[in-house]
């Protein structure tokens, strides 16, 4: 494909990187958000690939990402 999407459908971050291209040239790319790590294929339905069509219930903010709980919690180091 010619150019990468400009923003993450989920968190609106504007650094998108390329993870894979289709083995048949030019059919699709797999791209990823540099902040929330959301990964999508460029030919997926709009509800998964476009910010304006992405469901509000799945959207993430920078705070959501920073404040997400650790599972499992990192244990204390043993001396």
């Amino acid at each position: 494909m010619n150019h990468l999407p400009v923003e993450c459908p989920r968190c609106a971050f504007e650094e998108i990187s390329l993870l894979a291209t289709s083995p048949v040239p030019g059919v699709w790319d797999v791209v990823q958000c540099g902040r929330c790590l959301y990964t999508w294929r460029t030919i997926e339905p709009a509800r998964r690939t476009r910010r304006d069509a992405y469901p509000d219930s799945f959207k993430l903010t920078a705070q959501d990402i920073e404040n997400a709980i650790e599972v499992p919690a990192v244990p204390p180091l043993l001396k």
Partner: protein
């Protein structure tokens, strides 16, 4: 009748009319997940699906729903495909008694055919990855057998764990990984992270059908899944040595991914549509760096759809969750007749038991909550009499409706442990738990008017077996 790899099992499924090859071109999304989702909505003997014409890929081979019906589950255990569920669980419990059966090590694993290492690792070039549910954070490996060892006791074969965990692909050589705190790999990771060390790990994809069953089975910490696979197969499980980690991995895997869980690191993961029928995440989860990938030429990528039950996941872990609870309860309470823990991996359990004395059934319910699996699951227990089949839900509802006096027979215990994925937990990991005693009260618990029950006629059991034979013979 033991299968050494996924391919030979797919051949049997095809011969038995339980594999559907989809040769028309499909989209990677949403078609593959939607088709697998649909298998859970077309009846309980749905086939496995095989896709080999996926848009944009040149030689993708994708298998879905391999365990996703009672017929397929029976065939995985080498049983006739029309074996009733209760009999499948009983046969499973019977074979368990052969545990442990030592595995057989083989050198010529077919996944040695191809290797990627270090800088050259690119999971997207080996696997036709795809998304399952709309809100998933990305593409997942959700049917792997993941092998890890106890860092404090690496030579103990029994403590080597083989389990299924959700794994998100977050880079060409990076994975996010979810170890639920109750599960064995979380103990391995804690021990490694306490020392500031990475935890080596091997992830095997596309395994023989019994390996997938034992990897999703609640077993004791020091019990070997390979020795259990041998018991369930009725033949030693074939294993091989993974080249980088030296771990024992299934001989027949399609793909073996090796690397480390990076110590003391967490990164955003998820959400993922889980077996609870709800999304969970995003949370900050451990991260895996992949150092080596070994794979069969033209590997079959096996995955499973999960979402609102029932899906393949429920057929895969339903019977294997019933059996350990049955065994552990019977060890001290031989009165226990049968255990149905097939709903949401045992978040709700139905137990049929005889009564030693008044109040006994409630004790069986409390014991179920304190078994190793029960600590993270078993939030609701329904106790029914010894003559009620816990797999026969209309019978269970009869017992609930006729035998329960809510004030005396419903017990709620606050603030017990449950896995963090349980949607009703508050806070995550904590839940109240409930016992519903739908058994007939016995002395000295004298309540109700249960003196004249209607029983099945004495000849009924014989006729039931006769009718089943006639129906099976009709095909």
């Amino acid at each position: 009748m033991a299968y050494d790899d996924l391919r030979s099992f797919l051949d049997t499924l095809e011969k038995e009319g339980q594999l559907l090859r989809i040769t028309d071109e499909v989209l990677p999304e949403p078609d593959i997940a939607a088709a697998a989702n649909a298998t859970g909505r077309i009846g309980e003997n749905a086939p496995a699906l095989h896709f080999d014409n996926v848009k944009g890929f040149t030689d993708a081979r994708i298998a879905m729903n391999v365990h996703g019906s009672w017929a397929n589950h029976a065939l995985a255990l080498g049983l006739p495909k029309n074996t009733p569920v209760k009999e499948q669980v009983e046969e499973f419990a019977r074979r368990w008694d052969a545990f442990p059966v030592a595995p057989e090590r083989r050198e010529d694993a077919p996944w040695r055919e191809n290797t990627q290492e270090g800088e050259d690792v690119d999971l997207f070039s080996v696997l036709p990855l795809f998304r399952l549910n709309d809100g998933d954070g990305g593409f997942y490996l959700d049917k792997a057998a993941v092998v890890s060892r106890d860092p404090e006791d690496p030579d103990d074969f029994g403590k080597q764990n083989v389990g299924t965990y959700r794994i998100q692909v977050i880079g060409t050589d990076r994975l996010a990984f979810q170890p639920v705190p109750m599960h064995d790999v979380a103990q391995h990771l804690r021990k490694a992270e306490e020392k500031g060390e990475d935890l080596p790990i091997a992830i095997t994809l596309g395994n023989d059908p019994v390996m997938a069953i034992v990897a999703g089975m609640p077993m004791a910490y020091d019990q070997s899944e390979y020795e259990m696979a041998g018991a369930l197969r009725g033949a030693p499980a074939p294993i091989a040595t993974a080249p980088l980690t030296g771990f024992d991995v299934p001989w027949g895997s399609e793909v073996v991914i090796e690397g480390v869980i990076e110590s003391r690191k967490r990164q955003i993961e998820g959400p993922f549509g889980e077996f609870t029928g709800h999304y969970s995440g995003g949370r900050r989860m451990p991260v895996i760096r992949v150092d080596r990938v070994s794979y069969r030429t033209n590997p079959v990528f096996e995955s499973l759809y999960l979402g609102m039950p029932w899906t393949e996941c429920d057929y895969l872990v339903g019977p294997n969750t019933c059996v350990p609870l049955l065994k552990q309860l019977r060890a001290e309470f031989p009165e226990v007749q049968a255990v149905n823990a097939m709903y949401t991996h045992g978040l709700m359990v139905i137990i049929s038991t005889a009564k030693r004395y008044g109040g006994f059934a409630k004790a069986v319910g409390m014991r179920a909550m304190t078994t190793p699996h029960g600590l993270g699951y078993v939030a609701q227990v329904i106790l029914v009499d010894e003559d009620v089949d816990p797999f026969n839900l209309p019978q269970v509802m009869w017992a609930m409706s006729a035998k329960v006096n809510p004030k005396d027979d419903v017990v709620v215990i606050p603030n017990l442990s449950v896995l963090e994925l349980a949607p009703a937990a508050q806070p995550a990991g904590i839940s109240s738990k409930m016992i519903i005693d739908a058994t007939t009260p016995v002395a000295p618990d004298v309540r109700g008017n249960f003196s004249t029950p209607a029983k099945d006629l004495p000849e009924t059991a014989e006729w039931a077996a006769r009718l089943q034979r006639l129906i099976a013979a009709r095909g």
